[in-house]
């Protein structure tokens, strides 16, 4: 792996860090905003898992598509989704990416081929097979990526989809973000000691690779290699081991049931901090980084302010869009 890392150049690394930091500060500022304003709308924060979203999306081309789940802010932003539209959506505003009808769990930005997210565990996986099917049918040469968690992986529809992906040779990459938890439950509560994800995945004829989901470079390099194959109809699954920093949902933390993923260890392994060290090591100065960060922080603060002031959808909007 080590030597492959040189394939990712300085500019790319800086760009990646910026994206990771954007996701991080967006989430932090939104969490603070929710707390301050007592917002109890359902929300799932992505903090801790940024290396996965950015590592994967950096391996994609513009025409490639992404689908996602309940924890989709990071995926949306990594794919280039519009920040303001996302924040507006979270605050239920008319200019949100789903015009306030969807909220945090229903992000979409088809202009960048982020083609939708659904909070029903695993549902995006069969849907993403369909996207891959269409890409293949129209010989577009593009791929579809779907993000799912370790909990969602236990839904039978995922196994069915793995079979479809292999059978129809779909240009599909499944990104399994294994943060060791489904809500609070730990893997050992849900799987026997002999459970072997790789065997299951490859048993259906889908390639499998494991990556360090707290390490941008590891994720993105492995993803790039895989995607070349995916593009020619060899579907794959990449399992990214990572940690979710905050509570399962809501703008809070939850430390009681932590095992491997203690606050200390999460801090030690934090992907954003790690990436920051990487670019510091490239010779970028601390002050340069801070300036960049400040810029991003401000952009996000502006977006939140913008969203706060943006108008709510009108009553009439309730009744439209039942049908297309």
């Amino acid at each position: 792996m080590k030597n492959k890392k040189i394939l990712i150049g300085t500019t790319e690394r800086i760009a990646a860090y910026k994206k990771m930091f954007l996701i991080r500060t967006t989430e932090e500022q939104i969490a603070a905003y929710y707390l301050k304003n007592n917002i109890m709308s359902l929300v799932h924060f992505y903090i801790g898992q940024e290396a996965v979203a950015v590592g994967i999306c950096d391996a994609l081309q513009k025409g490639d598509r992404v689908m996602s789940n309940h924890r989709s802010h990071g995926h949306y932003l990594a794919k280039g989704g519009d920040l303001k539209k996302m924040v507006c959506e979270l605050l239920g505003k008319e200019c949100g990416c789903s015009h306030g009808k969807g909220g945090s769990m229903h992000l979409i930005d088809t202009s960048v081929n982020f083609i939708g997210s659904t909070p029903i565990l695993s549902s995006a996986v069969p849907l993403s097979c369909g996207s891959g099917f269409e890409q293949k049918y129209h010989k577009s040469g593009t791929v579809t990526v779907v993000f799912l968690g370790d909990g969602a992986f236990e839904e039978g529809g995922v196994c069915e989809s793995l079979n479809l992906a292999a059978l129809f040779k779909l240009p599909l990459l499944l990104v399994l973000e294994n943060n060791l938890r489904s809500i609070n439950t730990r893997l050992w509560e849900r799987r026997s000691a002999d459970y072997d994800t790789e065997k299951i995945v490859t048993g259906f004829g889908v390639r499998y690779i494991k990556a360090d989901g707290n390490d941008y470079l590891d994720v993105t390099i492995k993803a790039r290699e895989l995607i070349t194959e995916v593009r020619i109809g060899k579907p794959a699954l990449i399992e990214c081991m990572t940690y979710r920093h905050m509570a399962h949902s809501g703008p809070t933390f939850e430390e009681e049931t932590r095992e491997e993923d203690t606050a200390e260890r999460r801090k030690e392994k934090d992907s954003v901090a790690k990436m920051r060290r990487e670019i510091l090591a490239l010779g970028i100065s601390e002050s340069e980084i801070v300036a960049t960060e400040d810029n991003i922080i401000k952009t996000v603060a502006d977006a939140i302010m913008f969203a706060e002031k943006a108008p709510f959808p009108k009553k009439e909007s309730l009744y439209t869009n039942l049908y297309a």
Partner: protein, 348 residues
């Protein structure tokens, strides 16, 4: 255009074939759709003509249905076939929570042009787990359009409209009607997905039904032709229900019978009757009457199913009773009770 008499299943196949010819993005997915008598003949022979567009599938209703929806979202126009509603239930999430809600939940401009062809209902020896219809689920589900073709003509026209629609359309095909024959136009034509059809005009009373029940009612009319002037309405769509057409008729006749081919709680007839009841200043000559099946699952023995579904005699007698006329006594034969009706239907 010249017409010729074809079967219900042939009408479906013809619609599929013709729409596939003109739209390269139409594909068909389902179990056995690529086989000789594919999907009870409704896809017979199409695999040879469209080798990459007739897609055989594993036994994975959930993922197959989801894959089709995903393809619809991204630009194809899939037709998914499920041989029984009980099999389609494995894909309940994809149909009711994903496809149905997709456009609304993203605030519009996110069409899901997909057709779900789902076979339902009565058939000899299919029993409690192969004969449900779940109309109430489909009628209540927001975001779906749901139609029930009662004849070969409707089967063809509704399927064509469904494929051309931008929304998820469910077609509930009653297996009981698969042998019906009718003069069907040879070319492409649309039947509206949201309009009830007045099958026969009349002044005495209104009968509202759909699918297999509509055909039974149609047969019942022949028995009472000289005694009651019935207005017969084919509901066609149960989501949305065309209340306007029904209301107009009931305003005229003042009497209403609904015929359901499932149990009565939360049935289609119930929905129709409630709508009439809520009308202000509409005075009926008699309380609405609902004919439906008993409050139990469909058993398997023909000794029991013969009492299960409302027959043409039941419907005829309900109409006669409502008009205070003497009722008919006649026993149906085994064939009438248990074999698919092998009728030729005139154009409504």
């Amino acid at each position: 255009m010249p017409n010729r008499i074809i079967k219900y299943t042939e009408a479906i196949k013809e619609a599929t074939d013709q729409i596939m010819e003109v739209d390269q993005d139409v594909i068909v997915m389902g179990l056995e759709v690529s086989y000789k008598n594919g999907a009870d003949g409704t896809t017979a022979g199409l695999k040879e003509k469209y080798p990459y567009r007739i897609i055989e599938t594993p036994q994975s209703e959930n993922a197959i249905t989801g894959m089709a929806i995903g393809a619809a979202i991204t630009g194809l126009r899939p037709i998914v076939h499920h041989g029984r509603i009980e099999f389609a239930l494995f894909a309940a999430d994809q149909i009711f929570t994903q496809a149905a809600k997709w456009n609304y939940m993203f605030g519009g401009e996110h069409p899901v042009p997909i057709v779900f062809r789902i076979n339902i209902g009565r058939q000899w020896g299919q029993g409690p787990q192969h004969t449900q219809a779940l109309y109430s689920l489909f009628g209540n589900a927001l975001g779906l359009k749901v139609v029930i073709p009662s004849t070969p003509y409707m089967a063809k026209g509704l399927l064509i409209s469904a494929v051309r629609d931008k929304n998820p359309v469910v077609i509930l095909e009653s297996r009981w009607l698969f042998s019906l024959r009718q003069d069907v136009p040879t070319g492409l034509y649309n039947e509206p997905l949201d309009k009830a059809v007045v099958v026969k005009k009349g002044t005495d009373l209104t009968i509202v039904s759909y699918g297999d029940g509509l055909i039974t009612a149609y047969e019942a009319l022949k028995l009472i032709r000289d005694h009651v002037d019935v207005e017969l309405i084919d509901l066609v769509s149960i989501n949305p229900v065309d209340y306007e057409t029904i209301l107009k008729s009931v305003k005229k006749t003042g009497r209403l019978i609904t015929v359901d081919t499932t149990n009565h709680a939360f049935s289609i007839g119930t929905d129709v009757i409630a709508d009439i009841a809520k009308q202000k200043l509409l005075y009926l000559k008699n309380s609405p009457v609902s004919l439906s099946c008993p409050n139990v699952p469909v058993p398997t023995s023909t000794a029991l199913t013969k009492y299960y579904y409302p027959t043409k005699i039941d419907i005829a007698n309900a109409a006669l009773r409502l008009m205070d006329k003497p009722t008919i006594k006649r026993k149906l034969t085994f064939e009438e009770l248990h074999l698919l009706p092998n009728l030729i239907i005139k154009k409504f």
